[in-house]
Amino acid sequence: MMSVIEALPVQKPSAWKQRLQQLLAFAGLLVIFVAFSIARPTLFPTYSNITNILFSAVVIGCLAMGATLVIVSAGIDLSCGTGMALSAVMAATFMVTWGLPVWLGIILTLLFGAFLGCVNGIAVTVLGLPPFIATLATMMICQGLALVVSNVHPIYFDSGKQGSYLWLSTGTIIPGFPNAIFVLLLAAAVAYIVFNKTILGRYDVSIGSNQEATALSGINVKKWLVIIYATAGVFTALGGIMISARLGSAQPATGSGYEMQAIAATVIGGTSLAGGKGSIIGTLIGALIISVINNGLQIIMLPQQWQNVVLGAVIVVVVFIDQLRNKQAKAR
């Protein structure tokens, strides 16, 4: 099987090129960080503010890990924002309503995320819906179900019984450094291994670059696409766990709009919406870039109307440079 894959006409980015890609995103992050540091030297580059930046990247970062896996397969997952809200509601249902222990609640929530992803994957493969449409539909279904399951009420965690759950986000093993940041790093590490070191990642890239050729080489594309969406769903559920642990409650009406931030983080990180090419570390950096920009613009007290304008402009610039570089690489 492995040799079949290696024989595929897949343009796997060479190692140096991928490194350059990450270097570019990282350089962008650095430039933005330094610019804000110069603008507000006493306020911006401080320990507490840096932890703030990292902390506020956690939820989007988790969602973006899943988004990357899906986008590399030339798909898209619009349901991750409201799927996150539904997962949060399910987590609260498991732990608060049913009274299950925290560890079991977390496992069930992650499994539920995988189930949501499976639904997306089946809609895309078995029903043959375009990913955009399939996940647009599940986005709405999740939004509705979050309200139905919660009966349109936020569900509050008990700071005693679910204390360890809340600790996952706002607790601090290292003083002043919320645990949520470790969760994000762990999630990124898992995503990195899945994407770079397993067969799933290899098939993901292969399906994204050329689905027909992948199928012709004897790979069950449908099965693997379902697995890819299911894996992405686990990260969506993790996002739901992290946001509800932070807020101490599952808020059923949140979530819409988060999917766009996750997609933006993925794209800024150098993953191509055309599929076949992506980077987990790039996505992590992309999420950090969004977080740094949001935080920095607030700290320099730029009127808020302008903050989204700046963020949008950054996406245009980053993706433009990325494409330019790709074209040059092809021309050579």
């Binding site: 507490s48 703030n52 078995v126 936020p154 819409s256 949001n294 320099i300 009127p303």
Partner: protein
């Protein structure tokens, strides 16, 4: 393939029907029973994002049961979906109700539909937010400007006439957002003119986003003395931000509305107090005004549904407790 789609679609429909019937098992007055001659009132609210609307709904349902009218209570998923709300208003009109209650997300966007409703001879009762139009017969609302100004007065008492104060506002378009912002700013100028008031920031009522904003504001202004959150989501967000920055108790927090997290924080002293509206009374007032309009009674131009300041000292006062919600 087509067969599969049909099966799945049928499954989905039956599932959704099943969940609907479960949901209405509690005996809510929305939809369902096809009782012929009861007047039907459609109430288009601002949605589900805040428990405030559930409290308005319960007040409306209780009064509807008393007066023997049938109501539906609908709204978009979040308070930024102006267009979705316009569609709901159009759909409400299509059902030819005896009256329509409407809480505008945008005070101007509804002008066209309101004219159509007027032409159809259906009375409109505005609630929560005013509409820039003279079509609604009356507006049942909290005077948000006066209410927020009261919040500013307490802010000034708590911090003294010095320091810096920030505002986290839920919306810069809706009238409740702008009125609360402007009322608070006005109050600050009047009661403690020497306090620096920072540029208002908007968090869309999203708790996580508002928390991030609060933390950035505290970082940018280490000498911050107080934060005002203009609705439930903004206030809880400000509270989360302050807690995460380990500044609880060091920054004066004033909120708006209630909800469990806010009530807990006020009881524990992490939040100093909040302004509450009377959502249950507002819901009742909408239905009452609608029924009066159907009966041809003349209505006052504005029905003030009132507000209260509450803090640790009076939170369990029966009069206050009656308008708070979890």
């Amino acid at each position: 393939m087509r067969k599969i789609i049909a099966v799945v679609a049928a499954l989905m429909v039956s599932l959704s029907l099943a969940s609907c019937s479960n949901d209405n098992g509690g005996g809510t007055s929305t939809g369902g029973s096809a009782s012929g001659d009861k007047p039907f009132i459609s109430i288009v609210s601002k949605g589900f994002q805040h428990q405030f609307w559930q409290a308005v709904k319960s007040g409306a349902e209780a009064r509807a049961a008393e007066l023997g009218v049938e109501i539906e209570f609908i709204g978009p998923a979040s308070e930024s979906e102006v267009e979705a709300q316009m569609t709901m208003l159009d759909n409400a009109l299509a059902k030819k109700p005896a009256a329509i209650g409407f809480a505008a997300l945008d005070s101007q966007a509804a002008a066209g539909t309101l004219t159509k409703i007027k032409d159809a001879g259906i009375p409109v009762i505005a609630f929560d937010s005013g509409v820039d139009s003279d079509i609604p017969l009356t507006t049942a609302a909290t005077d948000n400007k006066v209410a927020a100004k009261e919040g500013a007065k307490h802010m000034c008492e708590l911090i003294g006439n010095k320091g810096k104060v920030a505002l986290i506002v839920h919306d810069q378009v809706s009238k409740s957002g702008t009125d609360r912002r402007d009322g608070f700013l006005e109050g600050m100028k009047e009661y403690c003119p020497d306090v620096t008031v920072l540029e208002p920031q908007y968090g869309g009522g999203d708790q996580a986003k508002s928390a991030d904003i609060a933390k950035s504001i505290m970082t940018a202004n280490p000498d911050l003395s107080g934060i005002f959150g203009s609705n439930e989501g903004s206030a809880i967000g400000a509270l989360k931000g302050v807690q995460e920055a380990n500044m609880a108790g060091k920054i004066v927090l004033i909120g708006f509305d209630s909800g469990k997290a806010q009530l807990d924080a006020i009881r524990s002293g992490e939040m100093n107090g909040a302004i509450t509206q009377d959502p249950v009374g507002m819901g009742a007032a909408v239905v009452q005004a609608a029924v009066d309009a159907i009966d041809g009674k003349t209505l006052p131009k504005f029905i003030d549904t009132g507000f209260y300041w509450y803090d640790k000292t009076n939170i369990d006062d029966p009069k206050i407790a009656a308008v708070l919600y979890d």
